[in-house]
């Protein structure tokens, strides 16, 4: 179990919403740019790594009660998406790094995922 605060500090992530990361723990990680896959593979209190910055990212994160979303490769959500994230209490973090790099760093910090294949729908 890794604290979200530690992840934000170590990976130098920029938070784009005022949702607090204090006292929140990350139970696992998931990475995909297909939201339909994220809806299957990401779990409650996971951190999701994606380069998508569309409004639906907030909807999926909220639906699954994710601890936060790391948006990679410098993609920046538009104001409407940020406003929705504030409203839904979804912590959006951005970074210029690639998903590959971010996942590597998360793994180094001890973030793990379920080893089970999420399967097909």
């Amino acid at each position: 179990m890794t604290s979200l605060k530690e992840i934000i500090d170590t990976l130098s992530l920029e938070t784009v919403v005022s949702v607090s990361a204090e006292g929140r723990s990350v139970m696992g990680g998931y990475a995909s740019d297909l939201l339909s896959c994220a809806m299957k593979g990401a779990k409650k209190d996971y951190v999701w790594v994606t380069l998508q910055s569309h409004l639906n990212v907030v909807a999926v994160a909220s639906l699954l009660n994710l601890v936060g979303v790391i948006i990679t490769e410098g993609n920046r959500p538009d104001p409407e998406t940020v406003a929705r994230a504030e409203k839904e209490g979804v912590l959006l973090m951005i970074t210029p790094k690639t998903t590959f790099t971010v996942v590597g760093e998360l793994t180094s910090l001890g973030v793990r995922a379920e080893t089970q294949d999420p399967g097909r729908w």
């Binding site: 740019d33 297909l34 939201l35 339909s36 998508q52 639906n56 909807a59 999926v60 729908w121």
Partner: protein, 229 residues
């Protein structure tokens, strides 16, 4: 897929309205429009845009000019690369008889840096209509890439593939029950051209199609669905 053969096959299939929607490109639409003179088939110029989210959107226009204006916007937002023919195929531009005119060298196969909502607004402002393409496909579709149809998307209908069976599809994506769905061939080969969607409209115009997709003013869309096996 050269203009005279497209039209011959469309006629065989009993179609009176088709659209030419190449990937991020409208280069060949005018040739098909010219070839259609006297054929009884109306051809709409268009494009299948690949958005920033890698979602495919059908963009339909009334005139080649509108479509060219859209093309210019899209070219500005495509990666500034040259096509690699060995990997992505040759991008031919042909005339109305199918003769080679030139080969487009700009890389068209990728995604334009235009978000789906922005694309809809831009196409609307040029007088066109947007229909998200093959939403039930496991790749390059609204439902696979973005998980659900966002409320923020101002479109009137969604396109499903010829393989879509309503009862099965609605179980997988209950959200689709509330949508106007249309079926097109998304034909990359002549034999893939379909005749499954009937537009009850007064003229083959984008505005009329828009009314039919909303079921307004007596305009309608009637889709022939496959029998359940």
């Amino acid at each position: 897929m050269i203009p005279p053969l497209i039209l011959r096959q469309a006629k065989r299939m009993g179609l009176s309205l088709i659209a030419v929607t190449d990937h991020n490109a409208c280069h060949n639409a005018e040739a098909v429009i010219q070839a259609s003179a006297g054929s009884g088939i109306h051809v709409l110029p268009g494009m299948e845009l690949q958005s920033k989210e890698e979602v495919h959107l059908l963009c339909l226009f009334d005139t080649v000019r509108q479509c060219r204006d859209w093309q210019e916007e899209v070219l500005k937002r495509l990666p500034p690369l040259l096509n690699k023919e060995a990997a992505f195929g040759t991008q031919f531009v042909v005339d109305s008889t199918g003769e080679w005119v030139r080969t487009e060298e700009r890389f068209l196969a990728g995604a334009a840096d235009i978000g789906i909502e922005e694309a809809v607004a831009m196409v609307h402002s040029l007088g066109g209509v947007v229909i998200p393409a093959h939403v039930d496909r496991p790749s390059f579709s609204l439902l696979s890439n973005l998980g659900m149809v966002p409320d923020s998307l101002k479109v009137r209908a969604l396109e499903v593939t010829p393989l879509f069976v309503p009862d099965v599809g609605f179980e997988k994506w209950p959200q689709l029950k509330t949508w106007c769905l249309i079926v097109n061939g998304d034909a990359h080969r002549l034999q893939e051209i379909q005749n499954r969607t009937l537009f009850k409209i007064a003229a083959p115009l984008v505005q009329e199609i828009d009314l039919a997709l909303s079921g307004e003013q007596g305009r309608q869309v009637v889709v022939t669905w496959p029998e359940i096996h």
